[in-house]
């Protein structure tokens, strides 16, 4: 059975220890695409966090009503409703961000992090725990995006917080449009290969940090890295005869 964690831990685990991007390697596609600029990353992170928190709460509320056979379509419908709401909000209030994010905003529907949390956590845990889990994971996602975008924007485009006024306008602050740092940046970092490069290096740094804190290394291959591990027939078969829940990820939701 799952060991009970305190609510505080449910919140904080998503930020570094089980960071969805850097440690669970989820949501890679939006990460690589959006982390070109810090402004877009903040926008994407906030939008995804909003969807994640709302969908986690609703799915947790409905967890006893949704039949397990059709849970994935049910989750998708819930997530898609919130994505539509968020997209309408972004279009209405921050149209510049809507243009910058393009297709990646509606693609939050199929973001692995959101569906993964719904499947691995919210479908099995109480509402407060799911709310905090979603909030922590969302902040972890935003944090990873901002770290990558800071490196890529400063070195790759030579700017920092370019176009931030599209976000600050919401709070009545205008005029500040970011810093200009280099006139001849390393343009490759804003392209796809640079995205993979920075992603790998930041992931290596996160692993090093976690190792230094004495926490287990992220297992990139192997079932325990998978957020579906708890409900996966393959893993559970192994667990029956072998040790229970060796990976940190497995522990959270084996209350099947």
């Amino acid at each position: 059975m799952a060991e009970k964690r305190s609510l505080g831990k449910e919140f904080s685990k998503g930020i570094i220890k089980e960071n969805p991007v850097l440690r669970l390697v989820l949501g890679t596609c939006p990460t690589l695409a959006v982390s070109v600029s810090v402004t877009n990353s903040i926008g994407m992170g906030v939008a995804a966090t909003l969807v994640l928190v709302c969908s986690n709460v609703v799915i947790s509320l409905l967890r006893k009503v949704i039949p397990s056979k059709i849970r994935i379509p049910a989750y998708i419908v819930v997530i898609a409703s919130f994505v539509t709401i968020v997209q309408m909000l972004v279009k209405a209030f921050v149209p510049a961000l809507n243009d910058a994010l393009g297709v990646y905003l509606p693609l939050i529907v199929v973001n692995c992090i959101i569906l993964g949390r719904a499947e691995a956590f919210a479908g099995k845990n109480s509402v407060p725990a799911s709310f905090l889990d979603g909030l922590g994971m969302g902040i972890g996602f935003t944090f990873a995006l901002i770290v990558m975008a800071t490196v890529r924007e400063i070195l790759g485009a030579g700017t920092f917080l370019e176009g931030i006024d599209s976000l600050t306008k919401l709070f009545g602050v205008t005029g500040f449009t970011g810093f200009k740092i280099f006139s001849q940046p390393v343009a490759m970092l804003t392209m796809a290969p640079g995205g993979f490069l920075v992603f790998g290096l930041v992931m290596a740094a996160a692993n090093k940090l976690a190792e230094r804190q004495g926490k287990p290394k992220a297992e990139l291959n192997g079932c325990s890295a998978c957020p579906m591990a708890a409900s996966c027939a393959l893993v559970n078969k192994d667990e029956a005869c072998e040790n229970k829940g060796s990976g940190s990820v497995e522990k959270e939701g084996s209350a099947v």
Partner: protein, 330 residues
């Protein structure tokens, strides 16, 4: 036995060649010297300082990264970092800013070579990796070709002339000028004579096998003949295709890198033909004027697959297993 003292029991191999990594790398450096001298003569002192900066950056970054970050034994003594430095510099225009050279070196040594496990483990040729990184990042500075004019030959006339590489220019230098390297381009790629001298030295010393250079250059020649016939050009078109760009430098010094090219002769020929075809495709149909470095990097990545196809069969094993299987099934 009468004299038991001289009998040793040891595991094979019993006969060892005296070839060492350091010795091979030293031979490659010797082979690069004529082209280095030529670059100094053609493009002036700055060609030599760019090379010196590049070599220093490669060696220092390899030493520092292994000592302070990986904390492993140091490998700068095998001289492979020196070659990466020279080759990367040979792929740059002589007017490139030094800080860009250093960044390219850091990418080549740290990202391409050391992060994948150091010498022998790099997945692509480090010098080409560094060049493509710089090409993508600083495309303006990387294609600001210096025309020969700043060299020792006409010292004092002008500092530098910039112009297009013969692959994109309308006004072509004569074939003799092309052979001696009196044209615009990267600093080490222009003097065909010096590169061929180095290549012959490597072949005589058996550091490289002729399979890759011959199949690479041969494929480009064959495709150029076809293109010549299609485009109704004169026969000098082939000579220009073979002598322009970085074809000779790439075929002799970069595509023959041990770690990133297949081992068997059959594999080497597939590798060389692939390099030649991709080079020609990019030159004839691509938006870039030159494709040698991209062709080599693509074939570098493919070489493990080529290796799988081209593994030689051990002597004595049945030749046609498939046929035998079919017969057995029938």
């Amino acid at each position: 036995m009468v004299n038991g003292k001289n009998l040793y029991v040891s595991a094979s191999p019993h006969a060892r060649a005296s070839v060492t990594t350091r010795g091979i790398m030293l031979d490659v450096i010797i082979a690069l010297v004529p082209a280095l001298i030529a670059s100094g003569v053609i493009f002036g002192l700055r060609a030599l300082t760019v090379t010196a900066v590049s070599v220093a950056a490669c060696v220092i970054s390899e030493w520092a990264f292994r000592k302070f970050i990986l904390r492993r034994s140091n490998t700068i003594g095998d001289l492979s970092a020196v070659i990466t430095g020279i080759l990367l510099a040979f792929n740059l225009p002589s007017g490139i800013p030094y800080w860009m050279v250093i960044l390219g070196d850091l990418f080549a040594i740290i990202i391409v070579k050391q992060l994948f496990g150091g010498i022998g483990q790099n997945f692509v040729n480090p010098a080409i990796g560094g060049r493509i990184f710089m090409l993508l990042s600083f495309s303006g500075s990387m294609s600001a070709w210096t025309q020969p004019g700043a060299g020792f030959m006409n010292l004092g006339k002008v500092d530098a002339l910039s112009g297009a590489t013969p692959l994109v220019s309308d006004k072509l230098p004569s074939l003799g000028e092309m052979f001696l390297g009196m044209r615009g381009g990267c600093l080490g790629e222009t003097c065909i004579l010096a590169l061929l001298l180095g290549g012959v030295y490597l072949l005589i010393k058996k550091v490289i096998s002729p399979a890759i250079p011959l199949s690479f250059i041969g494929t480009v020649a064959v495709v150029s003949v076809i293109a010549m016939l299609v485009k109704h050009e004169g026969p000098e078109y082939i000579a220009y295709q073979l002598m322009s760009g970085g074809l000779i430098l790439g075929a002799v010094f970069m595509a023959t890198d041990y770690a990133t090219s297949p081992i068997s002769v059959k594999g080497k020929i597939i590798f060389g033909v692939g390099c030649g075809l991709i080079t020609c495709l990019i030159r004839l149909f691509g938006s870039l004027p030159e494709g040698v470095s991209y062709s080599i990097i693509i074939m570098n990545i493919l070489s493990p697959l080529i290796e799988r196809v081209a593994t030689p069969k051990p002597f004595g094993t049945p030749k046609k297993e498939k046929k035998a299987k079919k017969e057995a099934q029938a």
